[in-house]
């Protein structure tokens, strides 16, 4: 179990968690999981943000000619304690006794519970069904839902070992969901196109 954060805000549609690693929120679009009792709640990362721990303290430039990037953290060790990284996630489904449902849960995840990255086999099983994409399209936040969707598809594609069949299937599902708005559809398709494939004619 790789815990990556703790929930600091929670609501029916999703939650905000503080990341354990500074500047390393989980990848945008990746699938994360909260275990609440016997229920696994699945969510997709919708944004990551790093800022001062105290909201009234703003980040100011710390770099100089000689000190920049990673060196800044070495030269200012107190930053680890005065900054925090948070990430937000949209709930996309749950699993009870290994039965997967892709709708919002009855209860939001409890505050202060741990967040983990979803292990590869659970990602695979969850994403075998694609209804969760509808929930993703409805997220409202700083990162546009189309970009979150595209990020998720890219992440899952990689996690499933470059599963081209799945990507095709997901792309068609997206095309169905966005058929009334082809500019939006193209935005997503261009963002998930895996590019030239080597080997094998496609059916």
């Amino acid at each position: 179990m790789s815990r990556i954060g703790e929930i600091v805000e929670t609501m029916s549609t999703g939650f905000v968690a503080e990341s354990f690693e500074l500047n390393q929120p989980p990848a945008l679009g990746s699938l994360i999981l909260v275990q609440s009792g016997s229920i696994h709640l699945y969510a997709v990362v919708t944004y990551g943000r790093t800022a001062g721990l105290d909201p009234s303290r703003h980040a100011v430039r710390q770099g100089t000619d000689m000190v920049s990037d990673a060196a800044i953290y070495r030269e200012h060790p107190e930053l680890e304690h005065t900054l925090r990284t948070e990430f937000g996630a949209a709930l996309v489904g749950l699993a009870v006794d290994r039965v997967i449902r892709q709708h919002l849960p009855a209860q939001p995840p409890p505050l202060h519970y741990s967040v983990q990255t979803a292990p590869a086999d659970e990602v695979r099983r969850f994403t075998d069904q694609l209804q969760y994409l509808r929930l993703l399209l409805q997220t409202r936040g700083e990162v546009p839902s189309l970009q979150v969707l595209a990020a998720n598809l890219r992440e899952v594609f990689q996690q499933r070992g470059e599963d081209h069949d799945w990507l095709d299937r997901a792309a068609r599902e997206v095309a169905t969901l966005l058929k009334g708005d082809h500019e939006a559809l193209l935005t997503v398709l261009y963002a998930i196109d895996p590019g030239e494939q080597t080997g094998g004619a496609r059916p």
């Binding site: 990507l167 095709d168 792309a171 068609r172 997206v174 095309a175 169905t176 966005l178 058929k179 009334g180 708005d181 082809h182 500019e183 559809l185 193209l186 398709l189 261009y190 196109d193 895996p194 590019g195 496609r202 059916p203």
Partner: protein, 543 residues
């Protein structure tokens, strides 16, 4: 969902057919106009034809601005959702779906597919037809079911019901190069093998009797070689008859006494007759009865003049007529007087189950063809009329004349609107099967044939046609024309035909069966050597 599912019905009317939205992943290129497909309704199965294909877009803005950088991935994703296709299908026959394990219900289905009376509801599945569908609709090979070929994508025989085929006159069409003579050979072979009818074939281009080299340098067998002494070869040309290995059974001579006015009128164009010809002939006939032609040709100028004076005929007209008709006399096969016995014997041979091919040899000009075919057919039809009347009196089965199918090529020459009323062929076509005689009409210009005659053709087998009016003509009197039009236009030039009409339950596109060794074997090709004795016996003696 079966695994040859194509899509689902989304719209439709009984009058205009059904609109099916193709599933994502199903490309339009899998389907062709005229394909046989099946719609699974809740209660009925609809055997249908694809009549049109449309491309659509879910968001019309997509059409205004299609993506410029669409990779194969993007196109694939959009196919079937943002972009999709619909096909128009025409239900042709429907079959009530019954519980396979309910014997009573199955019995009720004995009649097979019925005409369409209703349409399925939304989202009924469209799928490709499988073997079972084909055999449900088109039956199995054997008996009166003769395999014409196979569907475009399968190896199942599609059959003509030859009994129904010979119930009406039929046509074989297609632009030149589409293999009409092969089709004719196929069909005629089927008829011969199944004994559905006896054949009289006017072989204008010397194609049907013996082997012939095709365009691609293959040698194919003639009907005589496949069926042996069942097939009798008549010829106008003596010389041909003497060539080895190509034995002709009878050399036919035509007497001037056998030529009648309608025969001459048919030759108006060929003989360059004037408008006055008909009138002149009428006067001659009044005077000389059945010898009018001989008499005319023998007349000296003085006699001509004299006749004109006495009958009131116009001298110039008559003179011109005589000149033109002298051409006839010059033909080698024309004699002054001939007996009708040769023709009558031919009819008897036909009655005994023989098939006759009339070759023209050297005399294969249009003039000869028109004259001889019309004349012979007239006599044959007359004999048949007599036989039929006798049968009606005696009602003895032995007296019933065998169904006869007469094959003519360049049919428009005999059946164009101008002459259709006058030729025997026109008469036969219109009479339908009154005297058990039907036509097999072969033509590449069906638009030249009188529409009334066309509408009488029961079964039409057509290769590719591109001229609008030819297509219109072939589809005269056929329902669901729109669907079939597309099918006709999209046929491959060589191997594909559309079969529709009386002898098939529904129109169907077919890859023709090859006319080759396998076919000869299937027909039970004879390899017996021929001897004159056996020929004579066949001609005159026992069956």
């Amino acid at each position: 969902m079966s695994h040859n599912r194509l899509g689902a019905v989304v719209e439709g009317t009984f009058a205009d057919g059904l609109t099916v939205r193709l599933d994502p992943g199903t490309t339009t290129e899998q389907l062709r106009i005229g394909d046989f497909v099946v719609v699974e309704g809740a209660h009925n199965r609809y055997f249908s034809l694809v009549s049109d294909i449309h491309l659509k877009a879910a968001d019309p803005r997509l059409l205004a601005d299609p993506p410029r950088d669409a990779s194969a991935f993007v196109t694939r994703a959009m196919a079937g959702t943002s972009t999709y296709a619909t096909v128009q299908v025409r239900p042709m026959l429907m079959l009530e779906k019954v519980d396979e394990f309910d014997p009573r219900a199955l019995l009720g289905q004995q009649g097979g597919p019925q005409p369409v009376r209703t349409i399925p509801m939304h989202f009924a599945e469209l799928r490709t037809a499988d073997e079972l569908d084909f055999s449900t609709v088109f039956g199995h090979e054997g008996g009166v079911n003769f395999a014409m070929g196979a569907p475009l994508t399968m190896e199942i025989p599609i059959c003509l019901n030859l009994e129904r085929f010979v119930e009406r006159s039929n046509g074989i069409f297609g632009q030149s190069g589409t293999g009409k003579s092969f089709l004719a050979r196929l069909v005629i072979s089927g008829v011969i093998k199944s004994k559905a009818a006896v054949n009289l074939i006017f072989d204008m281009h010397d194609e049907y009797s013996f082997d012939k080299q095709t365009e691609d340098k293959r040698w194919v067998k003639g009907l005589r070689q496949v069926f042996g002494p069942q097939v009798l070869i008549y010829s106008l040309d003596e010389q041909v008859g003497r060539r080895a290995g190509r034995n002709v059974d009878v050399t036919l001579k035509v007497g001037l006494n056998q030529i009648e006015e309608p025969d001459i009128m048919l030759l108006t164009e060929e003989l360059n007759l004037r408008q006055t010809a008909e009138a002149s002939i009428g006067l001659l006939r009044d005077a000389f009865h059945e010898h009018w032609l001989l008499k005319l040709l023998e007349m000296t100028p003085e006699e001509l003049e004299g006749f004109c004076t006495s009958s009131g005929a116009h001298p110039a007209a008559l003179g011109s007529l005589q000149r033109n008709l002298k051409r006839l006399q010059r033909q080698e096969y024309i004699v002054s007087e001939a007996s009708f016995s040769a023709l009558d014997d031919m009819v008897e041979a036909l009655d005994r189950g023989k098939h006759v091919i009339l070759q023209f040899g050297r005399f294969n000009a249009v003039l000869d063809y028109l004259l001889v075919a019309n004349l012979v057919t007239r006599r044959v039809r007359q004999r048949y009329e007599d036989k039929m009347r006798r049968y009606e009196e005696t009602k003895a089965v032995a007296d019933k004349p065998r169904p006869l199918m007469i094959t003519i090529e360049e049919a428009h020459k005999f059946l164009n609107p101008a002459v259709a009323r006058q030729t025997t062929f026109g008469t036969i076509a219109r009479e339908m099967r009154k005297y058990n005689v039907t036509l097999l009409v072969i033509d590449q210009r069906p638009s030249g044939i009188d529409p009334e005659v066309m509408s009488q053709l029961g079964t039409r087998v057509s290769g590719k046609l591109t001229e609008e009016r030819d297509i219109d003509s072939v589809l005269t009197g056929v329902s669901n024309r729109g669907a079939l039009r597309g099918a006709l236009e999209s046929l491959d030039t060589r191997q594909q035909i559309l079969v529709m009409g009386h002898a098939v339950p529904m129109p169907i596109t077919v890859r023709t069966r090859p006319y080759d060794e396998a076919f000869y074997a299937a027909m039970g090709g004879h390899a017996r050597p021929h001897g004159t004795d056996s020929d004579v016996r066949d001609l005159f003696g026992e069956e």
